[in-house]
């Protein structure tokens, strides 16, 4: 009898933190946050490939520079290298705090820096299936609430499956993320608008670079349109310690030179 009771209790309690090694969703994300902050100081060279439903592809290469600036501030500069038409098109983020940031884009042919309103952070990053936000740094954890749904083994990696709901209005109503245990990085993510799944991505080819687990292949798909974007890292360096001048509007106009 006692044995039965124990099993029943275990079943009932399986949804509680106790079953996940005693961690809450928030605690898991605190770990994720820590890894993200550690990875902020870096230079990444990557290739982005856009694939449409009909099989057409377009490819572009870009360099990303980032830098942590103080305890909860950071800066990111992205510059396109190819194709020729997009050469030196740039994108700059200044995050004063994790939830307060400015976004700019620069188009050399129009010789004009344009501000991208914060309200557009969930919009497509220059026609890809990533968003501007995907290129930003870690968010402010206080802006979200976290619920652990279950544990799951994803492609051989044990993961916490966590539902993340924003407290402020975003273009999506929640996302579900598969966070690799121990590495504390996303391996899979699904964005929902109400009930509808509209964007899904995977993060694979995880290599440890300078002690930081780094997914080298990122895929994101727009579910309604079937449009996909692959982002593959060609090379990455951490602990770069770039000077502040690299993250000014002037530098944006000069493509990081």
């Amino acid at each position: 009898m006692n044995r039965w009771l124990f099993i029943m209790l275990a079943t009932l309690l399986s949804g509680t933190p106790a079953a996940h090694g005693g961690m809450t969703g928030r605690e898991v994300y605190a770990k994720v946050h820590e890894v993200r902050i550690r990875s902020l100081d870096r230079q990444t060279e990557a290739t982005m490939t856009l694939l449409d439903k009909g099989g057409g592809t377009r490819s572009r290469s870009l360099v990303e520079y980032s830098k942590a600036a103080g305890s909860d501030a950071y800066q990111v500069l992205v510059v396109f290298k190819t194709p020729a038409d997009l050469k030196d098109v740039g994108f700059l983020i200044h995050a004063r705090t994790f939830s307060d940031r400015d976004l700019w884009a620069y188009f050399p042919e129009l010789k004009r820096i344009r501000r991208i309103p914060t309200s557009s952070q969930d919009d497509s990053f220059f026609g890809s299936d990533f968003s501007y936000d995907d290129f930003g740094g870690p968010p402010n954890l206080d802006d979200y609430s976290f619920t652990i749904l279950r544990d799951e083994v994803l492609d051989g990696t044990p993961c916490h499956v966590i539902e993340v709901t924003p407290k402020v209005r975003r273009k999506w109503s929640r996302y579900v993320a598969w966070v690799a245990k121990g590495q504390w990085i996303h391996r899979k993510i699904e964005y929902y608008r109400d009930k509808e799944l509209y964007r899904a991505g995977t993060f694979s080819d995880v290599r440890i670079v300078d002690d930081i687990p780094t997914p080298f292949t990122m895929k994101m798909e727009n579910i309604p349109t079937g449009h996909k974007t692959d982002l593959v890292i060609n090379s990455i360096r951490y602990h770069t310690s770039f000077p502040d001048e690299l993250f000014t509007q002037r530098a944006l106009e000069r493509a990081g030179k």
Binding site: L50, D52, R60, D85, E109, L110, S124, H227
Partner: protein, 863 residues
């Protein structure tokens, strides 16, 4: 219940048995309602297409900020974005362009902030094509443009194709980066729209640092008035902060005149329709007199009898009106293209894609049809109740002359005419702002006058018949004499027929005269104003309404001057100003130069003043319409908005100009450039040296600029021809309505004469019995018919001349100025008379045949 019994057992049987007459009455009402409905639909559709365009283009914007026509600095955007309560403020550039290469096609280019604009407007970028429409490319390349799917299909353009577009800075090549589905702004202008990034548009159209408009949306809970106030505080003076609805209203005002004229025509055709119904019911009453007598003898109350006729009218007119609504829909579909074209010619670009029709409005019009029918049927229905059972049963000869030829009618007639005169006088002396100065007042004067003259028809017809008596007897023998006598005997009803013809002829003649007068005055004016030998512009000068012509840089002037054979070149620029909340046309040219060669029609002030006061000084000239509307005279000062804030301008003279019926201002080009900093030119007006050949010079101009831009160089003479054509096109619809009115009158004549023959079956039988030939009987009926037609035609023509004058005085002079003079269109009048007599002779044919066929024995033993 009682009425229902009568309707079911008596009226219904009439319907079954007297189909022919019923069809005629139904057709009359049907046509009248159809005219009203179609006019209404056309009006609504045109207006709806504007509203729709404006709504699609404005999206969710609660306020729109505009400066002057040439745009304003983009710094204003930052200022507006900083205002508390503003949710989004997005820049807009709106410009017109033409496809060059292939067939000429105007398109509207909307320059928007691609990164932000979706917050105000809905775009749907097509993605079913194999190529990825790449937003990054679209943003990064300044030659990017989006076309609508519909236009791309029509022009055979695919994504990544290059298109050549004529712009202010010459011909430009753009690359199509994507196609827009027909949603939101892509529906505007019938899909002839292209979207660019606002900053690329600035570069492409020479508007660096300037934008045309800011669209603003509010945070929830903010209201329009406080927001307007807050925004006004951060902007310099002279900016318009308006709701999108306000912009619709401006168009509505523009279209108002057009609508008024159409409404007037609609109202008058309804009036003619009422005569027809009056006639039809009178005839029914006469024909069913015996039936009424029997019913009365058996105990039907007066109200039952009158009610039966009224109820019959309601049922028949309801069916006819509903048919009319459907027919109106058909008419509207046929006419809509024509109207859209003439509205485009005269006012603003209209591309009406769909017909705007709501059944509730249609039913409303049908209701008016039924109501008008009831009013018209009231007199004969009440008369039916007065039929004495005894006389009806005994079949005593029926005369209704007592009712309509009395003294009362004469007095009423004179009173109506006097009332009309009083209304017109009051209207004339009322100040412009008074509510008396409305089309309703003038229309009521016209209607009262028509009633007055209609009431006088028995008298006038009697006079006409007795005057023509000798002639009729002499030249047409017995038939003629009897025809005259018959007319006199049935004076009341024949008078109604005459009145019906009178009204429709008056309608026809009056609008023919008005149109003729407007045409003559405008042609005179065009001759006075277009003196240039060659007009150079970048699009066809008359291709579309509004300002579709892509302006050219002012520096071209010196280039044109260098072409051999050119004597002088004058720049012409036009735009719109907001004065007292209304759009006013601003026309800019080189006054000093123009005064040398162009006779200007001046109504107040003189040429010397214009020559002295205008060039490069803060003085202007206004047209008559403007002067009357705003009570302005030479010597007054006006405050006009300029890009640098409001400025005072002195009025030097008042001139004649018909280019805009909402008012027009002339300004010297130097004054304009000083205040507006706008070096662009819409048209170069070229004078050719006396010995040079105009066509050679024309070709030389085209050759000189052919590489850089597409130009139109039209000779002055060709231009005038085009203008005339355009004017005539705008009058086509008016003429169509007139012809329908005449058709209604034709029906009236047929119904009246038919009834008169039916009623006189016995009399005709007697005539035949005592030896009148079939031919003579037929001739008698046709002569009667023609007499009615001719008398109606003559009276109608005279009345029409009068009404035309009232319309011109009351409506057009107010808007266009006193320089419009009244011209009687004699040819149209003669045509109307001829038509009236021919129609009435034709209308007499069937009754005449029927009369001739009358079976003598049956006619005599009848009853």
């Amino acid at each position: 219940m009682k009425l229902l019994n009568l309707l079911r057992h008596i009226s219904l049987k009439h319907v079954r048995l007297q189909k022919a007459q019923l069809i005629m009455a139904v057709s009359g009402i049907c046509l009248g309602v159809a005219v009203m409905v179609s006019i209404d639909i056309v009006n609504r559709s045109v207006l709806r297409s504007f509203e729709d365009s404006i709504n699609q283009i404005t999206g969710r914007a609660a306020l729109q900020i505009t400066g002057t026509d040439s745009g304003f600095p983009e710094e204003m955007l930052d200022r507006v974005q900083g205002v508390a309560g503003v949710e989004y403020a997005v820049p807009v550039i709106e410009t017109n362009a033409n496809f060059s290469g292939g067939k000429e096609r105007a398109l509207m280019i909307l320059g928007i902030d691609v990164l932000q604009d979706h917050k105000i407007r809905d775009y749907s970028i097509t993605d079913e094509s194999a190529d990825i429409p790449d937003p990054l490319f679209f943003l990064a390349k300044r030659d990017s443009i989006l076309l609508t799917r519909s236009m791309a299909e029509q022009e055979g353009i695919k994504i990544d194709d290059e298109i050549k577009v004529q712009t202010v800075v010459g011909i430009k090549t753009f690359k199509v980066r994507g196609l827009l589905n027909p949603e939101g702004p892509a529906r505007v202008a019938g899909g002839d729209i292209a979207v660019m990034d606002v900053y690329a548009a600035q570069m492409a159209f020479g508007k660096e640092g300037r934008i045309d408009r800011i669209d603003v949306s509010f945070l929830p809970g903010e209201n329009y008035d406080t927001m307007q106030e807050r925004i006004a505080k951060v902007l310099p003076e002279g900016y318009n902060i308006d709701t999108p609805a306000g912009r619709t209203k401006q168009v509505e005002v523009l279209l108002g005149h057009f609508r008024n004229i159409m409404d007037l025509i609609g109202g008058m055709s309804l009036f003619v329709g009422m005569y027809l119904i009056y006639n039809a019911v009178s005839i029914a009453v006469v024909q069913r007199r015996k039936e009424i007598g029997i019913l009365r003898a058996l105990g039907a109350a007066k109200s039952q009898v009158a009610g039966m006729f009224l109820a019959e009218t309601v049922i028949v007119s309801a069916i006819a009106s509903l048919l009319g609504v459907c027919l109106g829909l058909v008419f509207a579909k046929a006419a809509i293209g024509l109207v859209a074209q003439s509205v485009t010619d005269m006012y603003v670009k209209a591309s009406v894609a769909e017909i705007s029709f709501s059944w509730s409005a249609g039913i409303g019009k049908a209701g008016i049809g039924v109501l008008a029918s009831l009013v018209a049927a009231a007199i004969p229905s009440l008369a039916s109740a007065r039929i004495s059972p005894v006389s009806a049963i005994r079949s005593l000869p029926y005369t209704d002359n007592g009712f309509l030829s009395g003294k009362g009618i004469k007095i009423a007639s004179i009173l109506c005419c006097l009332l009309a005169v009083v209304i017109i006088v009051v209207y004339k002396i009322a100040p412009t702002t008074s509510p008396v100065k409305s089309l309703g007042v003038i229309s009521s004067a016209v209607i009262v006058l028509l009633i007055g003259i209609s009431l006088a028809t028995p008298m006038l017809l009697g006079r006409a018949v007795s005057l023509s008596h000798g002639f009729l007897a002499f030249s047409l023998g017995t038939s003629g004499k009897l025809a005259g006598l018959n007319l006199q005997k049935n004076m009341a009803r024949n008078s109604v027929a005459v009145a019906a013809i009178l009204c429709s002829i008056a309608l026809f003649v009056s609008s023919a005269n008005t149109v003729h007068s407007l045409r003559r005055s405008m042609f005179d004016w065009i001759d006075s104003i277009i003196r240039a030998d060659i007009l150079v512009s970048s699009g066809h000068p008359l291709a579309t309404g509004g300002s579709p012509v892509i302006p050219m840089p002012g520096e071209m002037l010196t280039e044109i001057e260098k072409i051999p054979g050119v004597l002088s070149v004058e720049p012409f620029r036009k735009g719109y100003l907001t004065y007292n909340g209304k759009k006013v046309l601003l026309e800019v040219f080189d006054v000093a130069l123009r005064m040398e060669y162009c006779p200007t029609m001046i109504t107040q002030g003189n040429r010397e003043d214009m020559r002295q006061l205008l060039p490069d000084q803060d003085n202007i000239v206004v047209n008559e319409g403007f002067a009357t509307k705003y009570q302005v005279a030479p010597g007054d000062y006006l405050v006009l908005p300029t890009p640098l804030g409001p400025k005072h301008f002195g009025v030097a003279a008042v001139i004649v100009s018909y280019t805009s019926d909402s008012g027009c201002i002339w300004m010297d080009v130097n004054t304009y450039r000083r205040h507006w900093h706008d070096p662009l030119v819409d048209t170069f007006e070229v004078l050719v040296q006396p010995k040079a050949d105009i066509d050679t010079v024309r070709q030389a101009i085209l050759k000189r600029f052919g590489q850089e831009r597409k130009l139109f160089a039209l000779s002055g003479a060709a231009f005038k021809v085009e203008v005339r054509k355009m004017l005539d096109r705008s009058f086509v619809l008016t003429n169509a309505v007139n012809i329908i009115a005449l058709g209604i009158a034709g029906f009236g004549i047929i119904v009246t004469l038919l009834a008169s023959v039916l009623e006189r079956t016995r009399e005709i039988g007697i005539l035949r019995a005592i030896g009148m030939k079939k031919g003579e009987v037929a001739r008698m009926v046709i002569i009667e018919s023609m007499l009615i037609g001719v008398v109606g035609g003559v009276l109608g023509s005279a009345t029409g001349v009068l009404i035309g004058w009232i319309e011109l005085e009351g409506v057009f002079r107010l808007d266009l100025g006193s320089s419009i003079t009244y011209h009687v269109h004699y040819a149209a009048m003669a045509g109307a008379l001829l038509l009236a007599s021919c129609l009435s002779a034709l209308a007499g044919l069937y009754p005449a045949r029927r009369a001739a066929k009358t079976n003598i024995v049956e006619a005599l033993t009848y009853e």
